[in-house]
């Protein structure tokens, strides 16, 4: 479903701030793969997701989604294949617009925007039902401005928006990191449900190793712009946090794993 081949990205090349964020990364995801991504601060996780989403173009390599080469496709054009939830709850929704308006915008992801009504009566009913499944009481607040919602409610809404039109690829960048533990668990729960329900091919970045182990069928760990570990299948199911730390040390020849990963 997703094919990343030899992708490199260097920020500010030729300056003292030069930073090689991705070094020839290759990654292949099968249809329905749910891959968790871990790694220390600055390892290149967000850069990887952003290059896939088209926030910026890679310096080298190709990215293919469902057989379509999107390497040079602008962000808004490849949005039809991709659902996204960001770390900052502010990023994924339009705060000054209503809940139903945000959903209506997401409903039209990948379609051309015409002079037809921006939202129809039938949609409203549908959104109410969908919001009920989140169990956050949002179904009675369709016309409330999203800016009035809590961070957790906004992330749950963004998740719903990301999956409203079934994406070929779901990209989650630490989407629970800004939430309190209880809300984070709730949003993660909703994530798991939606991914299962729609069999979404998913890349989820997290700083929580336990979450990375519990969720998904495959786990990759990034280190200095490379994929340092790639664990799937039975091996992933039996994985513990201690295993992970040990493996990371072997793979990178460093013992900084503990503080970098756990404190990150």
């Amino acid at each position: 479903m997703l094919d990343i081949k030899g992708v490199s990205k260097t920020f500010n090349p030729g300056t003292i701030n030069e930073k090689a964020a991705l070094r020839s990364v290759s990654l292949h995801l099968e249809d329905g793969d749910f891959v968790t991504v871990i790694g220390g601060n600055g390892a290149g996780k967000s850069t990887l997701l952003n290059t896939v989403a088209g926030t910026y173009f890679p310096d080298a390599g190709t990215i293919t989604i469902g057989g379509v080469d999107v390497t040079r496709l602008p962000e808004h054009k490849r949005a039809k294949y991709i659902g996204r939830v960001f770390q900052d709850p502010m990023t994924g929704t339009a705060a000054t617009m209503q809940i139903e308006e945000n959903l209506a915008l997401a409903r039209r992801r990948g379609a051309s925007r015409t002079l037809r009504p921006g939202i129809t009566r039938a949609e409203r009913g549908e959104y109410r039902e969908l919001l009920k499944t989140l169990d956050l009481g949002l179904e009675d607040r369709l016309t409330a401005k999203v800016g009035l919602l809590s961070g957790g409610q906004r992330q749950a809404l963004t998740l719903l928006m990301a999956s409203l039109v079934k994406p070929k690829l779901l990209l989650l960048d630490e989407h629970t990191a800004a939430l309190d533990p209880k809300t984070a668990a709730k949003v993660l729960d909703a994530t798991e449900k939606i991914v299962q329900r729609d069999h979404l091919t998913t890349l989820m970045i997290t700083h929580n190793m336990r979450d990375a182990i519990v969720h998904g069928n495959r786990l990759i760990m990034m280190y200095e712009g490379r994929i340092a570990l790639d664990i799937s299948g039975e091996e992933k199911k039996k994985l513990t946090v201690e295993d992970l730390l040990a493996k990371f040390g072997q793979a990178t020849g460093s013992d900084e794993a503990d503080d970098k990963l756990l404190l990150g």
Partner: protein, 316 residues
């Protein structure tokens, strides 16, 4: 008592001016409030609208056609600013200033079109008696159909109705999303560059419409009629919001409040002129008023943020 009387006497004119500038304020509302861009093109495109309309009318064009030509010219100006911003990567404010500056020269040339004796002109007079005009300030106190309000009120309402419809469509919603949150808009497949260009085109079309109406109303197009227009537009938007935002929640009413803001602005201006200020002092006064009204929310925000901003999301 005399003062009050002469103030009330000039109120109809303030309403006429206010309605015309209200259309311009709606244009400013679209860029400043919906798209979140401060577009300085408008100082130039207002004059362009007046100049094009005046030239067309003096050449004997149908006044409605002249109005349309003015709107198209304004849209073109907006397109230029939009492309300078999106396709050339120039910051929006600077892109607007560049277009505005270029329009200064162009407007002088436009006003000389059809005059074999001049290459440029700084004013172009229109006469109610000799030219076919849609409105004139001469009739502002008449109780006949010639009264300019008979035209201005429906035109304003039509503009509001059209925009209300447009911003409710898929395309219009996409534009609002572009202004509200670009990252979100792009993630939802919205071409934000196109949205910004479209917004600037629509906005400057309205500004030029306002200029075209103004030229007819005051009986001339002048090269400096648009100077400081952006500030007047902002003043109207802000006055409208400060006074009416609690009552007017609906989008159409918000547009209407910009128009009401413009009318209030001109009523106040009329009053201070009666109080003895020179008309040349007005720009200073306007700048002061806008600066204060823009500063108030900022100061309020700073005060409240002490209580709210702690422990915000960390950046990755």
């Amino acid at each position: 008592m005399d003062l009050l009387l002469s103030f009330f006497n000039s109120l109809p004119n303030a309403v006429g001016q206010g309605l015309i500038w209200g259309i311009m304020a709606i244009g400013v509302y679209i860029t400043y409030r919906i798209l979140d861009v401060a577009d300085l093109t408008v100082d130039g495109s207002l004059t362009t609208g007046g100049a094009v309309c005046a030239v067309c009318i003096t050449m004997g064009w149908n006044p409605w056609l002249s109005l349309l030509a003015a709107v198209l010219a304004g849209m073109l100006a907006g397109l230029v600013t939009g492309l300078l911003h999106t396709a050339c990567g120039i910051p929006a404010i600077l892109a607007g200033i560049l277009t505005q500056l270029a329009l200064y020269s162009l407007n002088l040339r436009i006003m000389a079109i059809g005059d074999p004796n001049a290459a440029t002109k700084a004013t172009l007079a229109l006469s109610v008696d000799n030219d076919q005009l849609l409105l004139s300030s001469r009739y502002i106190r008449y109780t006949t159909l010639e009264n300019p309000l008979v035209l201005l009120i429906p035109v304003t309402l039509l503009v509001i109705a059209l925009l209300y419809w447009f911003f409710g469509t898929e395309l219009g919603s996409a534009l609002r999303a572009t202004g509200a949150n670009q990252a979100m808009a792009r993630a939802q497949g919205i071409n934000t560059s196109f949205g910004k260009v479209l917004g600037l085109v629509v906005s400057n079309g309205l500004v030029a419409l306002s200029g075209a109406l103004l030229a007819q109303y005051q009986g001339s197009a002048t090269n400096d009629m648009g100077r400081g227009a952006i500030v007047i537009g902002l003043a109207a938007v802000i006055i409208g919001e400060v006074l009416l935002s609690r009552v007017f929640r609906n989008f159409a009413l918000k547009l209407l409040s910009a128009v009401i803001g413009a009318i209030i602005y001109y009523a106040v201006i009329t009053l201070v002129l009666r109080l003895g200020l020179e008309s040349t002092d007005l720009k200073l006064l306007t700048a002061l008023v806008v600066a204060i009204f823009l500063a108030i929310p900022y100061w309020k925000g700073r005060y409240f943020s002490k209580h709210f901003r702690r422990g915000g999301a960390s950046h990755a």
